[in-house]
């Protein structure tokens, strides 16, 4: 069950929304799409789902083109949340589940389990418009996963939720992955992707800037972050060879360095000068990588 995107390009008139995207999304893993608004994440998802056709290139799942015959195996949570405001939660879910070829009885049973999991069983027979936004979002998440899809596509699943609900939903996503669902999700929050995904792709203006496994990306990036807090002036370090970036903070300095050897050298140098309160060598964050690759701040 591999999702494969080969040379995928999507144009709307003169505007190219996605440019030459090549991706292999492994089975039973969580794959993260990162990128600012307008980067082409939703367009890519719509192409994967077959709602939009790629202008060029091929998208296959297990070597097959994705069409409506595969819809029972696919779950989708769109970025723009939407449900029928006037329908009851149960009617809503049963309808959407039936469209994915699920028997109404099974759907109702699954719904009970999910509502229990999200601690909102009392909303089963409430109209959607009576629910809070966060709870509507949970219902929509249930609608996307109720038929136990093999491939789950989540467009910004955590946006607009409070931290408690974000954790709840994250846990649900992790559980699904552990049960063998392949999950593709997008976020503009780097930390969510860092936390959940083995593989990722950062899109910028329709083109992939970074892609691959998280560990690999960080390792090949090479550069590391160094945080030093000390009682003496550290500003001279910004001119040190091997330091690519520096930022003074009230308690010390934050550096980006080329490799671990630079850190070692710096440690020896400042150890003679006085007491060091903090010396942390850290992996680069995705944000650092993004800024480095795109040349501008992301958030």
């Amino acid at each position: 069950m591999v999702l494969q995107l080969e040379n995928v390009t999507k144009r709307f008139g003169n505007f190219t929304a996605v440019r030459n995207l090549n991706l292999t999304i492994p089975e039973k893993e969580m794959f993260g799409f990162l990128g600012p608004n307008g980067a082409g994440k939703t367009t890519t998802f719509r192409m994967i789902l077959g709602i939009l056709q790629a202008s060029e290139g091929r998208i296959t799942w297990n070597g097959k083109k994705i069409d409506y015959a595969l819809s029972p195996d696919i779950g989708y949570l769109p970025e723009e949340r939407g449900l029928y405001p006037k329908l009851k939660v149960s009617e809503q879910i049963v309808y959407l589940a039936r469209l994915r070829k699920m028997h109404p009885k099974d759907a109702l049973k699954q719904l009970d389990d999910w509502l229990e999991k999200f601690k909102i069983p009392e909303y089963k027979n409430k109209k959607v418009e009576e629910l809070s936004k966060g709870n509507q979002q949970k219902i929509q998440f249930i609608a996307a996963v109720i038929h136990k899809p093999k491939l789950l596509i989540l467009d910004e699943p955590f946006s607009g939720l409070d931290p408690v609900n974000v954790e709840m939903l994250k846990q649900a996503v992790v559980d699904l992955k552990n049960e063998g669902t392949s999950i593709v999700f997008s976020s503009h929050r780097m930390e969510h992707v860092e936390e959940l995904c083995e593989h990722l792709c950062i899109l910028h203006k329709g083109a992939p800037v970074v892609q691959g496994s998280l560990k690999e990306i960080k390792r090949s990036f090479g550069k590391k972050n160094l945080v030093i807090h000390a009682d003496f002036d550290l500003s001279f370090l910004s001119g040190e060879p091997g330091v690519t970036k520096s930022k003074l903070t009230p308690e010390g300095i934050e550096l980006q360095i080329e490799n671990e050897a630079v850190a070692e050298r710096i440690l020896h140098k400042i150890a003679e000068r006085g007491f060091i309160r903090k010396f942390i060598l850290d992996e680069p964050t995705l944000n650092d990588i993004f800024i480095e690759k795109v040349g501008e701040s992301y958030e």
Binding site: S55, P78, L83, Y84, P85, L96, R98, L99, R100
Partner: protein, 417 residues
């Protein structure tokens, strides 16, 4: 189950269960029944209708004859003979004890004449009946004076024999025309309201799904074209169910009240020839008209992003229906007019105008078939383009003029292969 049927049953059940459906059906059935029972209701409100009239026969000879002929005209007339003074009677009339009083006397020629006095002169039928009764008495009296026998008198009074007949082979008789008119008229009104109501319902339905953004989930599991047609057919079925309920109620009531449908109005707007053929044509034209307008409404609905814009978007469509209806109304009294014949072939007008013609006239089968063929062709054409527009329309949000939106939707569909 096929997704077409999932969307179909879901839409159908939701609509049938909706409060809107229940209310519209109940109110329409109510109005239908009210109209049917109106004549008998009016009679009820008029009470037993007994009219008390004091009769002052100054001749002393006319009383019996007058009472008899008055009773033949209106059983509710009750006469009290009186020798009371006029002043006293006046008071009784003003108090409401009497409906009026009638003075009978002879004129110079020895013929009867009468003066009827009532509080107001609003009840023309009462005065009319009294006058007619007196007229008969006068004729008898005159015949006596002229020494005519009963036979001669009858000959004088007999009405002229006058009939009319159409000599065209297929023409309906005047009577048949009048009988058809009431049914055609009611069916036209039903078609008019149903098409407007259900077409708007479809457009609103599509726009709701789009604006509430359910659409994106829907079209990720069912193709937009399947979705569109399932919706159209579901709403059409809701319409047929509603029509059947209303027609059944109306038919039952009309059958039971047939005898109350008398008088001039019903001579013109008759229900007498309750033709099954007309009803079947009515349903066929309703369905075809609905399909045409609903297909257009569906893609128009797919072009708007907000519910508020739906009305603006479908207004050209509604205008067309209104024009068709007005043409049909104008054609009702003259179904053979050339403008009716011509417009009955224009698909947008066919559902009402061809129906008017087949209901009122004996239209050759090929003409009906031709117009239905054109209509079906037009529906297929709009369904084809509508599906293209719909496919693109449901995917983009934004607002622009109708033509620009259609262009954008078609572009979107084209790029989507």
């Amino acid at each position: 189950m096929n997704n077409f049927w999932v969307v179909f049953t879901h839409t159908f059940v939701t609509k049938i269960k909706s409060k809107q459906f229940l209310w519209v059906t109940a109110i329409t059935v109510g109005i239908t029944l009210l109209l049917v029972y109106l004549p008998s209701l009016i009679d009820k409100f008029n009470g037993d209708g007994e009219k008390k009239i004091a009769l002052i026969d100054q001749t002393g000879q006319l009383e019996e004859a007058f009472k008899q002929s008055a009773a033949n005209l209106d059983k509710n007339l009750k006469f009290t003979e009186t020798a009371a003074e006029e002043q006293e009677l006046k008071e009784k009339v003003l108090e409401g004890e009497l409906d009026g009083y009638l003075l009978l006397s002879f004129d110079e020629a020895g013929l009867p004449r009468g003066v009827f006095k009532a509080e107001t002169l609003t009840d023309q039928s009462l005065a009319g009946n009294l006058q007619m009764a007196l007229q008969q008495v006068r004729s008898q009296r005159a015949a006596q004076l002229l020494n005519l026998n009963a036979e001669q008198l009858a000959m004088l009074n007999a009405p002229a024999d006058f009939r009319q007949a159409a000599i065209g082979e297929n023409a309906k008789t005047e009577e048949e025309l009048n009988q058809a008119r009431g049914l055609v008229y009611s069916m036209l009104i039903i078609i008019y309201f149903a098409v407007i109501m259900y077409a708007s319902m479809i457009a609103t339905e599509v726009a709701t799904e789009k604006s509430s953004r359910v659409m994106e989930i829907l079209i990720s599991s069912v193709s937009p074209v399947t979705h569109m047609f399932a919706k159209i057919f579901a709403v059409a079925s809701v319409g047929v169910v509603q029509m059947i309920i209303i027609l059944a109620a109306g038919y039952g009531a009309v059958k039971r009240n047939m005898d109350t449908f008398t008088g001039e109005f019903f001579q013109f707007f008759g229900f007498g020839g309750f033709s099954l053929q007309t009803i079947i044509y009515g349903i066929v034209f309703f369905l075809l008209g609905f399909l045409l307008y609903a297909t257009i409404a569906a893609f128009l609905g797919s072009l708007v992003s907000r519910i508020e814009d739906v009305n603006q978007m479908v207004s050209p469509l509604i205008f067309t229906v209104v024009i068709a209806f007005m043409l049909a109304m104008a054609g009702l009294s003259n179904p053979e007019a050339p403008f009716v014949t011509v417009t009955s072939y224009i698909p947008f007008f066919t559902p009402m105008l061809m129906f008017l013609r087949v209901g009122m006239l004996d239209v050759p089968l090929w003409e009906t078939a031709l117009s239905i063929g054109l209509l079906i062709g037009c529906i297929a054409l709009f369904a084809y383009f509508g599906a293209k527009i719909y496919k693109g329309g449901v995917l983009f949000y934004g607002s622009a003029g109708l033509v620009k939106q259609i262009k954008r939707a078609l572009q979107m569909t084209k790029e989507n292969g």
